[in-house]
Structure formats: C-alpha cells, structure tokens
C-alpha cells in the first residue's frame, strides 16, 4: 500500500519535472512545476515530516509559482514561444544529465548505508520548533535577515526608473 503510494507520488514528481524541461510553452512548464513540487510534498508525507509537507505546499505551491508566473507574464514570454535548443546543446545537456544520473544510481546501490535499519522516525512539530528556536536560533535569525535583504534588493532592482515603461 505504502509502496503503491510512493510509486504514484514519484510518478507525479518525475512527470512534472520532465514537463518543466520539455514543454514548449513556458506557461505549461510553470504548471508542470507546480505538479512536481506538490509531488515533493507527498514525498515529505511519506517520510513522516508533515511540517515540511505543509511548508512545501505554502511556499512552493503558493508563493514561488505565483512569482514565476508573474515573471513570465511581465517578460511577455507568451508571445514568443521558446525556440527548440540547438541539437548540440541538447545532446551535451543530455550527456551531462544522463551521466550524472548513472553515476548517482551506481553509487546508491554500491553503498551500504550504516545505521539504516529500515525504520523511520516521525519528528513532530514540537520537536522541530524547539530545535529551530533553541539550537538553531542564530541561523534562523540570519535566514530572516537574508530574506529581508533579498526582499528590499528585489524591489530596488526591479523598480521602474524615470522615463521607463514596460
């Protein structure tokens, strides 16, 4: 049963990812990205980390994809369809991706993972919250600083200048 659910979720993730890199229409690519990211939330549920699944839904399913769709709209990408990549470029990308995948898979199946005894530990909200605000409090605050700087920086960079129009 769990295995069937994993297969379903994995299929959604992989088909969505293939759609992102293959779809000719850029808006379709963004919609495939949403499907893939929601599939990743399902993977988190299978790994018994509901907190991450919820965060994934909120941040990726909501904020990030909406931002991407806005960028697509503002760069008028829908008028000019993505041209097909050069055959040489596509071949090189295929070789790089395929070689990486082959290397990863041989590595995974030739390694014995120590301390993997076939059980998973579900980590509840309280534990994650305690760890985040005690042990990892300083990185947490730094991350909030990074977010603030990125937000202000994005506004400054994208601000409309004098005499400029979209």
């Amino acid at each position: 049963m769990t295995q069937a659910f994993f297969d379903l979720v994995a299929a959604v993730v992989i088909v969505g990812a293939l759609g992102v890199v293959m779809a000719r229409s850029t808006v379709y690519a963004a919609l495939f990205l949403i499907a893939s990211l929601l599939g990743v939330a399902g993977v988190y549920v299978l790994l018994a980390t509901e907190f991450l699944a919820l965060v994934q839904l909120l941040i990726y399913g909501g904020a990030v994809t909406v931002l991407l769709l806005f960028a697509l709209m503002l760069t008028h990408v829908r008028d000019l369809r993505e041209r097909a990549p050069e055959p040489a470029q596509r071949l090189g990308a295929l070789l790089a991706g395929g070689g990486l995948l082959a290397g990863f898979i041989t590595m995974v199946y030739r390694t014995r993972w120590p301390r993997d005894n076939g059980t998973i530990t579900s980590i509840d909200f309280n534990t994650i919250g305690n760890a985040l605000f005690n042990r990892w409090a300083v990185p947490f605050e730094i991350a909030s600083g990074v977010l603030l700087v990125a937000l202000v920086g994005a506004v400054v960079i994208a601000m409309q200048e004098e005499g400029e129009h979209l």
Partner: protein, 108 residues
C-alpha cells in the same frame, strides 16, 4: 518522536532525488529562457531537500539536522527566486529579451 517500520527502502528515495536532480541539470543546460532556467534550479533544490530529509529520518533521527537543512533550503530558495526574477525583469527591460544566449555583452 516515534519509530515505525517503513516498507520503502531508503534507496528508493535517494534514487528519486537523483532522477529529479539530473532532470534539473538537463533543464539548466538546455533551456534558453532565464525564467525556465530558474525553474530547473528549483527542481535541483527540491531534489537536495528530499535527499537530506530521507537521510535524516532513516539514519539520524536524534539530531535530524537534515530537516533543519531542508527548512533553510526552502527559505533561501524563496529569497533566490524573488531576487532572480527581479534581475530577469531588469535585464528584459534593458535588452528586450530574457533568453540567456542573447545576453552576450560580456562575450568577446
């Protein structure tokens, strides 16, 4: 924190993350539009998160650093997308294109 037997072996999660990462690499190398390149980078970031969370819940449940890492990856990814899209928008306004092979001012 309760341990439960999991019928899916750890390898399957790692292989799923490897596939996702490779697809992301292919997308970054073959796509022309900068927004699509950013989307492929998002796929790679998610692959890394899956990997970290899988190792955290299977092999290091007392410390679960992997989950904390995944939270920070999501935070940084959100900041990265916002900033990257602002840069792409600025480039598009200045040069009228968002295709990375046409932005070649630094090439000689």
């Amino acid at each position: 924190m309760t341990s439960v037997p999991q019928e899916i072996p750890l390898e399957q999660f790692i292989v799923l993350s490897a596939i996702l990462f490779s697809i992301g690499v292919y997308g970054v190398l073959s796509r022309r539009n900068a927004v699509l390149v950013v989307m492929s980078v998002e796929l790679m970031l998610n692959a890394v998160s899956i990997n970290m969370v899988a190792f955290a819940v299977y092999t290091a449940p007392t410390l679960f650093v992997g989950i904390i890492f995944a939270i920070f990856i999501i935070t940084i990814a959100a900041a990265e997308v916002g900033l990257a899209l602002a840069v792409i928008l600025r480039v598009f306004r200045n040069r009228g294109t968002a295709n990375i092979d046409e932005i070649d001012t630094l090439k000689w």
